[in-house]
């Protein structure tokens, strides 16, 4: 792991809940598929265990429904989906993220402007 990857992992930790909730808001999904969709959306360094652990925690916290879908080819899949509580949590976190990223962008822009002078 290089420094950039370490940084990404550290930053991801705080927002992984939000990312997972956002993916599940699009469509119900199972563990491996959530990982794949996060990676497709540019979160390349998201770890499988992190996603699996996050899913289990959100489920335990009562933010997710879960159901098993039998599959002909492979193992049965445990699908997760948002319930009301999950949707509320997603809305709140999204707002928090929006204001946080706005503030951070502002800070970072100010820094680059300052450098330009």
């Amino acid at each position: 792991m290089n420094q950039a990857e370490v940084d990404t992992t550290q930053l991801l930790k705080g927002v992984l809940d939000l990312a997972v909730l956002a993916v599940l808001a699009e469509a119900d999904s199972y563990g491996y598929d959530v990982v794949r969709r996060l990676r497709e959306n540019g979160l390349d360094h998201v770890g499988d265990a992190s996603v699996y652990g996050t899913l289990r925690r959100l489920y335990q916290a009562g933010a997710l429904n879960s159901y098993v879908v039998p599959s002909d080819e492979g193992p049965h899949r445990k699908y997760y989906g948002l319930n009301n509580r999950g949707r509320k949590a997603l809305d709140q976190s999204a707002q928090t993220w929006a204001s946080l990223s706005k503030a951070l962008n502002h800070l970072l822009n100010g820094r680059s402007n300052g450098h330009d002078k």
Binding site: K13, L16, A49, G53, R56, Q60, G74
Partner: protein
């Protein structure tokens, strides 16, 4: 990779992850790891290749899982390497063939324990209620007491086996009590058995004069088997009667030698008249040992206690 290989790969990997998380409270671990195998199978099926290649070492995977799950009671302090390997060692031991064999065999020893615990329980009771009584591993059936002990053991064994056969399906609380009681018997028995050597020794001395007071003399060099009194000027004395501070006759340990006691006018043996007349097993009389007399100070006016008459000038 064949599907068999994949299955065993998934099982090994999952077992290692579980072992690495074995310090989590079981309810947390249950929720977290509920469908770990299914999840790993999914990855194995879609990604192909061994899981370690795809996910990294299972210990690292477990660490990531732990962090993402936010297990609060996580051990963050650096662990002793020996402790860290403990869960893995446990998995290795419990998975081994000999462990399974021992586990399968142990229940067959149950009846043996039922008998043993009855014997130990009686032994503990005897030890508790008879201080000073010679406690041997096997009761002496020629004495009343030993006979009673043997009878009690018979009854106890019968009871113990009866209890053992009926305790197959105990409730949780009762089972805990039963296990505690068994452990207590075993523990106390260890203490009693540990003291048995000295018990057995006092038994040896005690039987020397069964109808006499239980006091027997002993000294650091081993059992005292005879006493040789001398007067101050070195003359051997005979038939010196010894008594302790309570007025009880002082007797000595029975030695290999045959002792013949003088018989009193009332027909009873006098066991505290020294020196005792003793014969070796081959019939030779036991002779007095050579002794070194202490050098007395020059005779003074104050008469020292002596068997001979006070000096007269």
């Amino acid at each position: 990779m064949t599907s068999n290989d994949q299955a065993s790969d998934v099982n090994t990997y999952a077992a290692s992850v579980r072992a690495a998380l074995s310090d989590l409270p079981s309810d947390q671990a249950d929720v977290l790891l509920e469908d770990l195998e299914d999840h790993l199978r999914e990855i194995s099926a879609e990604a192909g290749g061994p899981l370690t290649e795809r996910l990294g070492p299972p210990e690292q995977y477990a660490q990531e899982l732990r962090a993402a799950y936010g297990a609060t009671q996580v051990n963050t302090r650096p662990q002793d390497p020996a402790l860290r390997d403990l869960p893995r060692a446990r998995v290795w031991v419990t998975g081994s063939e000999w462990y399974r064999q021992v586990r399968a065999f142990l229940p067959e020893l149950r009846p043996a324990w039922w008998v043993l615990r009855a014997y130990l329980a009686v032994l503990i009771l005897v030890a508790a209620f008879s201080r000073g009584y010679g406690l041997g591993p096997i009761p002496n059936p020629t004495t009343k007491r030993g006979l009673a002990e043997i009878l009690a053991m018979g009854v106890a064994i019968w009871l113990s086996v009866r209890i053992g056969r009926r305790s197959r399906n105990l409730l949780q609380g009762a089972r805990f009590l039963a296990v505690s009681a068994n452990a207590l018997i075993a523990l106390v028995a260890v203490v009693v058995l540990g003291n048995m050597h000295s018990f057995a020794y006092s038994e040896l001395i005690g039987t020397a004069t069964p109808e006499q007071a239980p006091f027997t003399a002993a000294f650091a060099g081993g059992p005292l088997t005879n006493v040789y009194p001398y007067s101050q000027d070195g003359k051997p004395l005979t038939n010196v009667l010894l008594y302790d501070q309570d007025g009880q006759p002082i007797t000595v340990a029975k030695s290999e030698a045959q002792t013949s006691y003088p018989v009193g006018a009332d027909g009873k043996a006098i066991t505290n008249a020294y020196p005792l007349t003793q014969r070796h097993l081959n019939g030779d009389p036991v002779v007095a040992p050579r002794v070194a007399f202490p050098p007395w100070p020059a005779p003074s006016a104050t008469a020292s206690p002596s068997a001979t008459a006070s000096p007269t000038h």
